[in-house]
């Protein structure tokens, strides 16, 4: 996740299965913890933690996926581009 932000991603959505439905039992719960960890780190280093978001969906939840994608799109547009992108451009 951090690598994606380092490379300039404006936002990262992590989408896991519904809680309780993970093929690996607790993989999606662990993923949520990691997202929380990344949010904390981003806030600490001066980026907005909300650029990383965890969602839970089942494979048949098309409309909900669209809703989450739109929600994420709106969030990111409000925040503006990842500052890393600009720094990278300057460095180049």
């Amino acid at each position: 996740m951090l690598r994606a932000f380092e490379k300039g991603a404006d936002g990262v959505s992590i989408i896991g299965c519904m809680e309780g439905d993970c093929h690996y039992k607790t993989g999606n719960l662990r993923a949520r913890k990691r997202v929380e960890q990344v949010q904390k780190i981003l806030n600490t280093i001066g980026l907005e933690g909300e650029r990383a978001q965890m969602y839970n969906l089942s494979s048949s939840d098309g409309p909900l996926f669209v809703k989450y994608a739109q929600e994420m799109d709106e969030r990111i547009r409000n925040l503006g581009p990842n500052p890393m992108k600009k720094k990278k451009k300057n460095a180049a």
Binding site: L2, R3, F5, E6, Q37, I41, L42, T44, I45, G46, L47, P83, M84, K87, K88, N90, A91
Partner: protein, 223 residues
Amino acid sequence: MIVADKKPVEEIIEYVKDCKKLLVLGCNECVTVCEAGGKKEAGVLASALRMYFANRGVEDALVDERTLERQCDHEYLEEIRDIADNYDAIVSIACGVGVQFTAEKYHSIPVYPGVNTCFLGATEQRGLWTERCQACGQCILAYTGGICPVARCAKRLLNGPCGGSSNGKCEINKELDCAWQLIIDRLKAIDRMDLYEKLFGIKDWSTDRAGGPRKVQREDVQI
């Protein structure tokens, strides 16, 4: 194993904010198991520091990451001999032993700790580590059913329990097992309550930290 906990990123940033070339040095042993200072954590910390510097506009900042098999052995620490001089500072996320050994070996490079070293303990479950040994230098586990009153009794009592033991719990914390209750239960289970009848004499604490920094010297394995 040695159990450590990650330092907050803010604290590490405070150490290194004026550096431009950094090496985050992980350790493949105990701190990997307790998820505080292994290869994965080195990657996360290095990435966070790179973004911190970039966000501050320090464009020529360099943050590399490397994880050694151990930081408490000469041979592994020698692996960074050729590259160490490239850096203004090293953030070691090994235990306190690793940090110090790295600092001793690379005398002119500042070495900062990236974890808080906590105790010698066991993994009870993922994300939960508890203390088991205080390295007192004179093990008495043979007489206490394999449960250490030095490490696990709040008062380090050798002839317990004390009056603060209630329903098997310690008075300092209702969730903490009374070590002496555990010892008695265990001695009963192995049919060795005769050991409980014997009084412990005064323990020689000179082998503990009270006797100053310690060393183990083994002539049988020294060349």
